[in-house]
């Protein structure tokens, strides 16, 4: 990774990768947060809250919407699996991660960042940090609100609280790992979104369904291994799959996700540092 070399008469020091990343972060955060993309993020994140609200309202009017044995914490667990882990985290990560540099290139504003005395790697890193803050600041409150709405239905806040803590950590960890991966995808491919969606909805589903070690080449394997709730099983295939694979240990999950993050960010930083961006006119 290149480092800014202080020159005689050059500006003040302090433009190492981390310091520069923080400055890029500062510049990008507001831009990212107040973009149209956040509307989509808010819609995705808001849906479980809306469903939880509808459920609570129906129950308040004693409409028998819940089947026997299904309690609020169980529905929350389903939501966490169905919405958050399998959909919201990977899709939002694809959406933001692949656009970290692509957006600046598309808007032709990358020139302003690449002609500053900061390593190009810090542009990726700073924007990646901005994405993390942006995505988590929208999704985390949604998860907490959903939990507050659902957990008390035939359940106890106290009993499901430790799981909520784990859930929140999973949201952050998921964004960290998937975001790094798609940041790399976004810098390598010209049509990163398609590759991202293919990875999430094609490859990951396939890898998880197959026996053997292929599943280790997915992020979902490690992320889903951390989820404290019972995974909903729709088909006998799901059941078999789980029986065959088992859940990876926390250490394995942490190592797997850590590796994806580090490798993803390194690739993204390297590609951006070496790539020439010819902007369209």
């Amino acid at each position: 990774m290149e480092q800014a070399t202080p020159r005689p008469g050059a500006g003040p020091a302090g433009t190492g990768v981390l310091a520069a990343s923080m400055r890029v972060f500062d510049l990008s955060l507001g831009r990212m947060l107040w973009s149209r993309r956040t509307i989509f993020t808010a819609l995705v994140a808001g849906l479980p809250v809306v469903v939880a609200l509808v459920l609570r309202t129906l129950l308040a009017f004693e409409v028998p919407v819940m089947q026997g044995g299904v309690t609020g914490p169980v529905v929350f667990g389903l939501m966490f699996w169905g919405f958050v882990v399998r959909f919201a985290i990977p899709v939002l990560a694809v959406f933001y991660g692949t656009a970290l540099i692509a957006d600046e290139v598309e808007d032709r504003t990358i020139t302003y960042l690449f002609t500053r005395p900061i390593p190009r790697a810090s542009v990726v890193l700073g924007k990646y940090l901005a994405y993390l803050v942006c995505a988590t600041s929208v999704l985390l409150p949604a998860v907490v609100l959903t939990w507050l709405l659902l957990a008390p239905i035939d359940g106890a806040l106290a009993a499901s609280f430790p799981d909520l803590g784990v859930d929140l950590v999973i949201v952050v960890v998921g964004f960290v790992a998937y975001g790094a991966l798609f940041a790399a995808v976004g810098t390598i491919f010209d049509r990163p979104l398609l590759f991202g969606l293919l990875f999430v909805f094609g490859w990951e589903n396939l890898a998880l369904a197959l026996p053997g070690q292929l599943r280790r080449a997915s992020v979902a394997h490690y992320l889903q291994g951390l989820v404290p709730h019972a995974m909903p099983a729709d088909t006998p295939l799901d059941v078999l799959q789980r029986a065959m694979t088992g859940a990876p240990g926390v250490l394995e999950c942490a190592l797997g996700l850590g590796l994806v993050t580090v490798v993803g960010l390194l690739i993204a930083a390297r590609v951006v540092s070496n790539r020439e961006y010819v902007l369209e006119h």
Binding site: F40, Q67, V70, V75, L78, G82, L197, P232
Partner: protein
């Protein structure tokens, strides 16, 4: 003959295509641009792998009658085939469809198109047609080819005599899976100037509705809520077309109405978003 040629402007005096036929030009140029993309060709080729697998199945069944026990070919085989092609249809829709109108909007080409003797319905028809052709190559064409292969390998029409509605069912179900996604995608494509944003909106619509269905179905313990999910509605109606028992309890009429609502909403969106100078003959 003069040595100096007349360099002044000369009017076009050839035949003009009558108004109402210009959509073919849009269709042809759009298809030309789409098929110039190698990943799309790769995706289309890949989508024929299931066709090969099913052909082998039919061959085995016709050659070794004892295989009928496990590999029987029935209307369900074709229904499952069409269902499986949905995965490829999804990626083709995203790849080929997301930039159809968004790309033109981005470079302000829409106004240029609509300032020509071209009705906006023609413009939409051309764009829609291009996506439908791509989708037909993934669903309708392989499904019909599979039917032909079955007749050729069996050497008789026994299957069609036993299930007389099979051919119309295959045609109708394939068309359903072409028209609805194509309409929705083209409408979404008119909403934005960024094809990435469109792709995520489409994926979001599908997966959010599916996740919503998953959670509500589990909470209520009933598949009557299948109408909440766009893909499940297609399943329910496809089952009805093939006259097979549905895997969902949702009323067919309700699912069909939801699909019609999607198409109508798409038309309304297109009517409002694709505007420019309209040339009246």
């Amino acid at each position: 003959m003069s040595l100096v040629h007349d360099q002044s402007y000369r009017r076009y005096t050839g035949a003009r295509r009558p108004i109402g036929r210009a959509w073919i030009v849009i269709l042809r140029t759009t298809l030309g641009a789409l098929f110039a993309r190698r990943p799309l060709i790769g995706l289309l080729l890949l989508s024929w792998v299931p066709f090969l697998v099913r052909t082998v199945q039919i061959y085995v069944v016709e050659s070794y009658p004892q295989a009928v026990e496990v590999l029987a070919v029935s209307p369900r085989t074709f229904r499952d085939f069409i269902d499986f092609q949905g995965l490829f249809a999804f990626f083709v829709t995203i790849y080929a469809g997301s930039g159809l109108i968004a790309g033109d909007r981005r470079v302000n080409a829409l106004q240029i198109y609509l300032s020509k003797p071209l009705l906006r319905t023609e413009y939409i028809a051309g764009k829609l047609g291009a996506l439908m052709v791509c989708l037909a190559l993934v669903t309708l064409v392989p499904a019909v080819m599979l039917l032909i292969m079955q007749v050729l390998m069996a050497g008789n029409l026994a299957l069609h005599r036993a299930a007389p509605g099979l051919l119309p069912a295959v045609l109708l179900a394939s068309m359903l899976r072409i028209v609805v996604p194509a309409m929705v995608m083209v409408a979404l494509s008119s909403l934005s100037t960024s094809s990435r944003y469109v792709a995520v909106m489409y994926a979001g619509l599908l997966f959010v509705s599916e996740a919503l269905y998953g959670v509500v179905a589990r909470a209520t313990g009933s598949t009557r809520v299948a109408w909440l999910s766009l893909p499940r509605n297609l399943d329910v109606v496809t089952d009805a077309i093939f006259r097979l028992p549905s895997q969902h309890d949702a009323p067919v009429v309700l699912s069909a109405l939801v699909l019609i609502a999607f198409v109508v909403a798409s038309i309304v969106v297109l009517e409002r978003r694709v505007r420019g100078v309209e040339v009246v003959a």
